[in-house]
């Protein structure tokens, strides 16, 4: 029997800590197991007994790179429980804040974490030695997102201006106009980025994924919409638990999500959003996708870097549009009256659908919290990608094979500190 073991102790360029073991027997990948070390439900336990109003700040601390996503899913879930609807400019400001986070997160992943895989570098540092101007371009793009987040969210580690019902304070139009100038330059960089990454050499790997994302009648989804799939799912966040469940798997302390009806896996994130919402992209983002060689649906996870670049174009475009139409609201929030009940919400974190559910007491005290991050939902799909795609590369030397495994995980920009945490990668050839 052909036997071989490859071990990678540290899988770099993913958020968090965990381990991956790929087992190969008789020249076939027999299994790929993503193990996660962190106690996954710390924050859910931490939220119990806290006031509903604390949820945006507490959940923002779960992830350093997507605090807005956690804030948005939590405030929407609370508002759902209290029967509150936020509209007008306050709703637009939430979309604008989300644009800032997508720009930051996607720019970081495209330039610093994922591009080195395609250009043959160990990481961003090695890449910067040869491609300093490229790295500076990525940093400039990311900074436009930082600046936008700073103006709306307050200049702290995570936005401090978000509350249930809206914001504590609405930004001034003139401050946003200043950021819009930077966003116009960022939009040009984003288009350039899409054309740059489209030239990378992509393995010919596609799978027939069930794509799951929010879908809204007239906008590319950030905060609101129905949860849909390309195989017929079309539900509200209230019905999420009837269709998806988190399961314990023996090899991980994290939970993995699967569909309840057939136990199947599904994919959330840029590929899902793009494939289910192409028509909602701005004209420039659509043109960019087309000129970068993408169809209306992309089922090659290695090309997610192109889709992220297209979403960067969209996020800049949408932010500029919102700022252009912005009129500072007199009231930056709507009144909140707590009541007992259950609130549900899903929003689109940069990495995909982020579901929150809260049971609340009559005074708004949190009795129970459930948080399903995108990486939990993608975890089983990542394992399937490895068992499917890695077979084609088994004749590679161990180092190269290990690199392919890491790249395959990084396609998802996995946020293992959200799902829980960081990677020690082993390839066991027997």
């Amino acid at each position: 029997m052909a036997r071989k073991t490859i071990k990678v102790d540290n899988l770099a360029r993913v958020e968090g800590e965990g381990a991956l073991t790929v087992v190969i027997r008789d020249n076939r990948v027999r299994s790929a197991e993503l193990r996660i070390f962190e106690p996954p439900r710390f924050f859910e336990a931490f939220l119990r007994g806290r006031a509903y109003s604390e949820a945006p700040d507490i959940t923002a601390r779960i992830c350093g790179i997507c605090p807005v996503a956690y804030q948005m899913s939590s405030v929407h879930a609370m508002e759902d429980a209290f029967g509150i609807t936020v509209g007008g400019q306050v709703r637009a400001l939430r979309r604008l804040l989300y644009c800032g986070e997508w720009i930051e997160s996607h720019a970081l992943h495209v330039y610093m974490l994922h591009a080195p895989d395609f250009l043959g570098y160990e990481g961003a540092l090695e890449m910067a030695k040869d491609h300093g101007d490229v790295v500076k371009r990525g940093l400039a793009l990311k900074k436009a997102g930082n600046d936008l987040m700073g103006v709306i969210g307050g200049r702290e580690i995570h936005p401090i201006n978000v509350r249930v019902g809206g914001f504590y304070k609405a930004p001034l139009k003139r401050d946003l106009i200043e950021v819009a100038e930077a966003l116009k330059r960022a939009r040009d960089i984003a288009v350039e980025t899409a054309h740059w990454v489209a030239q990378f050499d992509f393995p010919d790997c596609t799978r027939n994924y069930e794509l799951v994302s929010l879908h809204h009648t007239d906008e590319y989804p950030f905060n609101e919409g129905r949860i849909v799939s390309n195989r017929g799912i079309d539900i509200t966040a209230h019905e999420y638990d009837q269709h998806f469940e988190e399961q314990h798997v023996p090899h991980s302390t994290a939970l993995q999500s699967r569909k309840r009806d057939d136990g199947g896996t599904y994919l959330v994130g840029p590929l899902a959003r793009y494939g289910l919402n192409f028509e909602r992209l701005s004209p420039l983002a659509k043109d960019t996708a087309q000129s970068a060689g993408l169809g209306h649906v992309c089922m090659n996870p290695y090309q997610s870097i192109i889709v992220r670049a297209v979403e960067l174009v969209y996020a800049c475009d949408e932010a500029i549009r919102i700022i252009d139409e912005y009129e500072r609201p007199d009231q930056p929030n709507v009144a909140v009256v707590p009541r007992a009940g259950t609130g549900y919400a899903a929003t689109e974190a940069p990495r995909g659908l982020l579901y929150h559910r809260y049971h609340l007491a009559h005074d708004g005290t949190i009795l129970h919290a459930q948080i399903v991050p995108p990486t939990s939902q993608n975890q089983a799909t990542i394992e399937e990608d490895l068992t499917t795609f890695i077979n084609a590369w088994l004749d590679l030397a161990d180092t190269a094979l290990r690199h392919r495994c890491e790249q395959t995980v990084r396609n998802y920009d996995p946020c293992l500190s959200c799902a829980t945490h960081f990677l020690d990668l082993r390839v066991d050839r027997g």
């Binding site: 710390f42 931490f46 350093g64 961003a124 300093g132 960081f422």
Partner: protein, 164 residues
């Protein structure tokens, strides 16, 4: 007496721009160290010195470093030493060791920020790093006693250096 109109007073531009950055995550045990020191520094360093707290994500740190002539960074690290041990070095003169700094985003943190700044020509001429040896970065844990005891000492060093 009329109060001075500060807007019209001619002042000398500061000789140099110094940033002090406390790095870490308040929810991750000893990783909170740099942030705790930074919080205690408020009001205790000269006004022209900018004070920041950061979670350690490299490009955000790079932004802070890029405009500065001098930087003082405080972070927790695990390098195999005694918990609470304080090390000081000038990263402008030597590359950072392979110590594992706090739970940075995507494993892309302080060491990467400094090396990236060096490669891109953005490293301040003086870049002092105070690295305190951590015992644990466990989620939800308090600061270890050894690190709690090190706070005052690092605070004193940083105040002295920020006043130089």
């Amino acid at each position: 007496m009329r109060a001075l109109d500060r807007g019209s007073v001619s002042v000398q531009p500061p000789m140099h721009r110094t940033v002090v950055i406390g790095i870490g995550n308040l929810d991750r045990g000893d990783d909170a160290f740099g942030r705790i020191v930074a919080a205690r520094l408020r009001g205790r360093i000269p006004e022209h010195v900018s004070l920041f707290e950061e979670d350690g994500e490299a490009t955000a740190l790079l932004d802070r470093l890029g405009d500065a002539d001098a930087a003082i960074l405080i972070d927790a690290a695990i390098s195999g030493g005694e918990p609470g041990q304080i090390r000081r070095f000038d990263a402008a003169c030597e590359p950072l060791s392979a110590a594992k700094f706090g739970m940075s985003t995507h494993g892309f943190g302080l060491a990467e920020a400094i090396e990236l700044a060096r490669i891109l020509g953005k490293l301040p001429g003086r870049c002092i790093v105070y690295a305190v040896e951590a015992r644990s970065f466990e989620l939800g844990a308090p600061l270890s006693p050894e690190l709690a005891r090190a706070v005052d000492e690092v605070l004193a060093w940083v105040i002295a250096e920020a006043n130089e």
